[in-house]
Symmetry: C3
Subunit: 273 residues, 3 copies
Amino acid sequence: MLKEMLENVREKCPLIHNITNYVTVNDCANALLACGGSPIMSDDIEEVEEITTICGGLNINIGTLNQRTIPAMLKAGKKANELGHPVILDPVGAGASALRTETAYTLMEEVKLTVIRGNISEIKTLATGSGTTKGVDADVADKVTEENLVQSAEFAKAFAAKTGAVIAITGAIDIVANAEKAYCIYNGRPEMSGITGTGCQLSAITAAYTTANPDTPLEAAAAAVCLMGICGEIAYERMTDLDGNSSYRNYIIDAVCNVDGETLEKRADYKVL
Amino acid sequence: MLKEMLENVREKCPLIHNITNYVTVNDCANALLACGGSPIMSDDIEEVEEITTICGGLNINIGTLNQRTIPAMLKAGKKANELGHPVILDPVGAGASALRTETAYTLMEEVKLTVIRGNISEIKTLATGSGTTKGVDADVADKVTEENLVQSAEFAKAFAAKTGAVIAITGAIDIVANAEKAYCIYNGRPEMSGITGTGCQLSAITAAYTTANPDTPLEAAAAAVCLMGICGEIAYERMTDLDGNSSYRNYIIDAVCNVDGETLEKRADYKVL
Amino acid sequence: MLKEMLENVREKCPLIHNITNYVTVNDCANALLACGGSPIMSDDIEEVEEITTICGGLNINIGTLNQRTIPAMLKAGKKANELGHPVILDPVGAGASALRTETAYTLMEEVKLTVIRGNISEIKTLATGSGTTKGVDADVADKVTEENLVQSAEFAKAFAAKTGAVIAITGAIDIVANAEKAYCIYNGRPEMSGITGTGCQLSAITAAYTTANPDTPLEAAAAAVCLMGICGEIAYERMTDLDGNSSYRNYIIDAVCNVDGETLEKRADYKVL
């Protein structure tokens, strides 16, 4: 399954419209190219509908959002919905400011999202709901562990059921769930959190995977999460004593570039709950 | 000739004002430093005239353009014209949205451009002209090949004659032309398109080359195109099985940093039409 | 002393709010992670107070400033002052445009700064004062050398006395001074100026150091400057003939990631005036 997902990306080379932060945007572009997709970055309200139209999928990342880009995110999201394109939301820093939290809520309300990918804290913020909207039960731990895995997976499923989106919670153990099924993924390295933007890159890659595999968003998102984790492992094996987070960043993108479907299939380490 | 071009850049260390996209801006800055120039990035309308004034050349790149930066591009371009500074236009994504296409047209109409550098699709978009303006015959193929080379070179010359700018069309075969003469350049590697921003970097480097070689814009632009292609080749020779597009990006900029005039002269592979 | 400074950063993992330019922002984020801190980038006026509130320190860098971000810098700075957080100012390009110079003056007037870090030209611009404000005597050379070191250190001390901020002037010899004491630091490599953003990275790291060492801003800033210089040396030792400024950039951040307190202590090369 994972092999096929990867090969569909390489074969179809999906063009992804990214409205994303200026911190990790270059890595997102290179990660998209590395996985077999193609990136366009565009955030002006005058052109986002046209740009989305020529693309296959849309990746909205709210890091370094501002008053100018928020309406562009909404406009692009609605257009992508009209066209039936997958839309990924990366709610970077939801919970850290009212602007980010409210923007994420508005995007959830006004745009049909295919995948929401964030860390447990961001996803919990979104799941608690806003204003009069009652959220799902977000009384889960702040870290997904073996001990709370079943409860965390139930939380992800419930939030997926409520939103209709695939929910991808990434951390030491990743959970990728729709209403019925949760992939719990063990790939990855703790050192990945010492690099800025591995999460942003994963969201961009998830957009490519769901665009190239339109009928199976859950499996496509799970494949993207496995891919990123496995590439973090492969890159780590390459590290020397002199290497640090900057070289590690390069090695991960290099690994995304080089990894094949067999390796993805063989190294994927997950269970389904 | 090429050797002299390169050495003029290293000797004069031209300061280049860049109004450019936030995706590849860091690579543009490092590529400018690598080639022997010096970068300043500035896009606020309040300061662009002053910044352009202290620089030797201006590089305008319309990737991630927005309502705030478009007037700054025009203002800086006009000031650079007043001062007699070379102005490079990189029409990233012209044709992909009306905003980009119209912005490129407006820049062509209101600013005297020294070099326009883009891929064949972008250049064809610009050459078709806007509104009542009749463009040149852009009925050329979507890819420059050995078979259509003469016709493509004629197209580039015609567009150069119409605009007064050197036209640089980059792809598998690059064409750099003024009204009379076209350099057809065979350097480079297909893998360069797997990295975001090699085109943007080339435009920035072209600004440095035309600034340091003010009397020979055609040859300066051709030298910059040869340089980038040769550095793509040198960097590729360094690639290991574990390297991918991220390391390749670093190696190319490293090569720009280390390449000397003799190597540029020796490895340049072009013919003149 | 330096060892303790470094270890405090690694232990406390200070979260730093950065309002910074889009050229070097990714390197600043990775440099902060490498040194043991944690970055948040945010520049929208609607959220900067909240973001500053959840952080420990604030790093304001005026490169690629614009009309939208300048009020956000002021608002964040005032909030950080209220909370007693360290505030670092990196006056990138002060002197190059009125907008940059005036913005730096306004920040100095309205925000209590903990450290101002820039090159000699930027710091001289700030020290000359604006409008009716009489500045300190900035009649020092344009480059700090062994010959003018005493005079340069006196200038830095006088400017520190006037502003109440630690003044960090970086160049071939770095000076880090408060009103009474100046560290003259000899670490670093000339090749560091061939990379974009080593100064920006140092300012971000200085924010982490002063946040984790709140009672000793002078020593914390001096430790950050020594760290950056030493990492430039360590990274340079790793360079091969094929490496250029792009690999050097990666190696420096890698070195920041790997360097320990003993090495910092042992390799630091400074005298106190």
